[in-house]
Symmetry: D2
Subunit: 343 residues, 4 copies
């Protein structure tokens, strides 16, 4: 059994990690930390875990964590970079679900996240944990930066087009819709049921932290800097991201469906839907899939890609476990045989 | 008092008309029809109307309707065009909330709506009831075609840009999100709570009936045919449309906020929000406003307009009453002093 | 015009008062206070009010409030009792939407609310603002204590039975379900969309502050102390309370429907539904009605009463306005011609 | 591997069976039937199953079904009784998720279900599949009648009290709240999102088909006929039942918590919560648990039991699989290691 630790287990990505790992055949959660909830049993805080975990939260301690084979950070930005370097030095694989190691340009990182980066060497070394792009590097990585939720949905939707230079790389538009769990479990008026239910709105239209991350990934795939307009929206549901992606085809073609199917033919968690389908977020609710459809409305030169994930699974905890499986040479699907909850 | 009739009062636009007219100072609902519910009192079908209406549904009858000053059609397409010509001939003002008279090119209409148009003369005469564009023609019209819900939100959001030729008219992208009430009150698996709640999806990405209507309106405003990609989505709430509109500025400028404010300065029901705001659909829930914000992300050449309405009010019944008020020389706001229900 | 002030305008009952008063023909909101939001315009905080109010929040000041004809307190308990005595002395009618003046037994009040009562004389004088019971005393009151939301729904449902001694007064069971807005607008993990949507739970089963208030009212109606079990539940919606009330009939009878209809025949805001109907909370969403149905399942000796209100309207702001209308001799319905938003 | 068939796979209990069986280590779904969807692949109808099943719906055929080891009926009442007798004769274990075999008194059954019973002998033989009561009989049964959703939550909540004669058996009150999926997947106006979201209502207050089933079970446990008032309500969510159960204690005592804990100590799927807890339906969303809390408000003689299940899992498909496991001597938990989806 692989012994893992979780730093920051009281948020939604933390409890989702626990839900998934409860049935992972090769993993045992050995330690879970929370400063504020020290001593509380996780199952008292999250009753869905009753009968599955007998752990209590402890104060984060590097020596204790260093006894694990791998440590997940499910923490706000700034935490992982303070502890990961030592853990990595001591031979622990680190998988960060937060934002500390996603962006290579640390000046850019500082601008968007409002703090200095304190682990530049590890940031340079860290592998961006999108298995559909970096599977080989992940296998031998010491430090994995799990992609953000929007970046996962957007990149998987654009990759086949961008990698093949099929669309105008200067005019990408990603209109994205997220359930409220993407905003986390903190007490906040803005995410109360009474403020978000029966309403829909954009936010961060002037700029959102996932923008530079998406541009970094797509620019690498394109081989040159892409231009991207990214508008996130809040939709009145708990889980799910729907990315609606627009591109201008250089050479309008009917071959896009086949292109996507080939690109993802061997990917266990990317599902290209039959032509004409519209993926629903609920089809991946609780599951690790990204489901994708491709349209060319009125057979014109605009391509529309629809890409859905569960932000807490393929957009966070599930993808983290997928990375763990790759890192440790397990079946990439281990523990991830999750079927979407429908209805 | 203006005597009005409502044909097709059992759907969501019908009951919403009744809700609004219940407090209209100058209007009396004299007759309401439904073939299937003949004899049923409207307040038995819609208990929210108990104490406000003592009417029962009757079978539609032109002679009876012809005693009204105005008749609203809140019917599926095909109904209004069968009855409106005679009513108009007999001096009744007709306001169609359905799709029969919205599109001037009747071949195009037939292609999207799958039937022959049986009232071409009246279709040619009908005035498109978007007061912010056609107020003067509405005053003297005999037949009003109320705009669709998506077309209202999209056109009001694009108009200032398109009228002034500020954006590339060939590359408009309207990414629209609608609550489920837009799909109507018919029994259908696809709009069950269990199928639509906690999920988000696009639909009609290959083509939607509101596309030609929007293109007609924006092409008129632009003075030449526009190119538009329109992708509607279903969001898990009852009411509300959020249109996210993208355009490529020919000449990037900071003056867009002022442009919009001036364009709508005298409009009672279009509210340009302060710069930097994101309008929420709930702010117009039950109210007749269209709220609009304008962004230029990263000060680049892409403009993003956010436009929200309540699809059943400014997108249907409220706009119909606004048209009635104009037609009869009333205060345009009469009966429409509705404040959004928040929370 | 009656000049009114609102103390504590940033919560849900405050904004609901503004929504209702925006269209009240005889009332002008002259001052609205909030310590934390001083200087902010109410329409900037609550965009649904844009175009309806030009007021900004001010720090609460008794001299300023004393220039009003009436002052509403939409505040947590403890605030009204600190300011109301002076306002009443200076001739201002005070209407408290909070809990300070609802319970006559101040020891009992202190036990449930965890503080000393600082205005016992005014508490003794205050009239409990349930018009269906105390209309005459309200007319001449100086200080009105508006009933809580649960107490309104429960008392209106039980009154005809209890006043006439028809049920065993020792065995009342009130199983109540509330939308989340009843918990207020404070930042709290427990009322996040992600914590309350797609879930249902009881809370306060061991005891809830509305229990002594309900018992006080029903005991007065019964002429002796009643025994009541009251279990509140949280249901995943914004607005609405549904009270399901159980009683053991001393003498099973078919006359209950008529009894309720007679009891409320002259009440403008209590609507006894036709026999066999099940009232839906949405039928009163945004409206000031209490809708009631009565069942005797299997013609047995148990009576079941279903009573629904909008907790923010008949359960708070609407009832407060109804009290204001009575206090000032206006039409009791003034400003309350609100139709439930359905769908 | 145990070969199973599913008759009626297009409803919510059918797709939920597939979701659960997708990961059952000892079961293979061999055939799934639907008259209306013949030839359609289940994963085309339910995209959450893509990648998990390659089956298509076939027309129900007894010879084909008779090749299975067990057959589930996820059908409306009337279907199972027409096919089950022959299957049982041919040695197939039959597990009915519908209502045909739940009630022993067939006259009573006919009165509530409005048809003659055509398999009285099998009805007499059928074992009521509530493992917490009938585990031993289930092991050797040929025909299992799975309990209804409400009856599962209500009986598990009342059993410790009723079996021990602690409450007045004539005055049971079960106030129950269900998510909308309990109403099934049929097209119906009443279960549209627009009709059920943001609303709460009772239904069937005069009488509901689950009443005789609950009374049968509790009367058997009590050793004499119980008196029960059962009022079901519809709550705006997809999954979950919350039963709030009231009883009058003959001899008020503090020992109820211990009593419940002992009664269910060895039950893998009944979880007695710590004293003072309120179980949330979301804690069992997608999982096979029944979570229970016990209160004695104000230390009085009324006991309140809170009992929650997922109506589609412990209330239907999960319990059916639990019965299958018992029938075939498997680990009772096999395939049911499901953790509630929270958030």
């Amino acid at each position: 059994m692989i012994k893992v630790g979780i730093v920051g287990g009281t948020g939604y990505t933390g409890v989702e990690l626990l839900r998934i790992l409860a049935n992972h055949p090769d993993v045992k959660v050995d330690v879970i930390t929370s400063r504020s909830e020290e001593g509380i049993r996780v199952a008292d805080m999250f009753p869905n875990l009753r009968g599955h975990f007998d752990l209590a939260f402890t104060v984060p301690d590097v020596d204790r964590l260093a006894t694990c084979d791998a440590v997940f950070f499910a923490t706000p930005h700034g935490v992982a970079m303070s502890m990961a370097p030592e853990l990595v030095e001591r031979g622990v694989k680190v998988i960060d679900l937060g934002a500390d190691f996603r962006i290579k340009d640390l000046e850019l990182w500082s601008r968007w996240y409002g703090m200095e980066h304190t682990a530049p060497a590890l940031a340079a070394e860290a592998v961006y944990g999108l298995p559909e792009v970096n599977r080989e590097q992940i296998r031998s990585a010491r430090m994995i930066a799990c992609p953000g939720c929007y970046p996962t949905a957007v990149q998987l939707g654009y990759l086949p087009l961008v990698e093949n230079g099929l669309i105008d790389h200067r005019r990408l538009i990603a209109d994205c819709k997220s359930g409220v769990s993407g905003a986390g479990r903190g007490a906040s008026v803005g995410t109360l049921l009474c403020e978000t239910s029966e309403s829909f709105k954009a936010y961060g239209a002037a700029g959102h932290r996932h923008l530079p991350e998406i541009k970094q990934g797509l620019s690498a795939a394109a081989g040159r800097p892409v231009g991207l307009t990214f508008v996130p929206h809040l939709t009145p549901m708990i889980r799910g991201i729907h990315a609606t992606l627009y591109g201008v085809l250089k050479d309008p073609t009917d071959g896009l469906q086949a292109l996507f199917e080939e690109r993802y033919a061997d990917e266990p968690f990317v599902d290209v839907m039959p032509a004409g389908s519209h993926p629903e977020t609920r089809s991946v609710k609780g599951a690790n899939y990204c489901r994708i459809s491709i349209f060319r409305p009125q057979d014109d030169d605009t391509v529309v890609v629809l890409s859905v994930i569960d932000n807490l699974v393929k957009g966070a905890a599930g993808q983290a476990v997928q990375n763990l499986n790759i890192l440790f040479g397990l079946d990439e699907r281990a523990g991830l045989n999750l079927v979407g909850l429908m209805p």
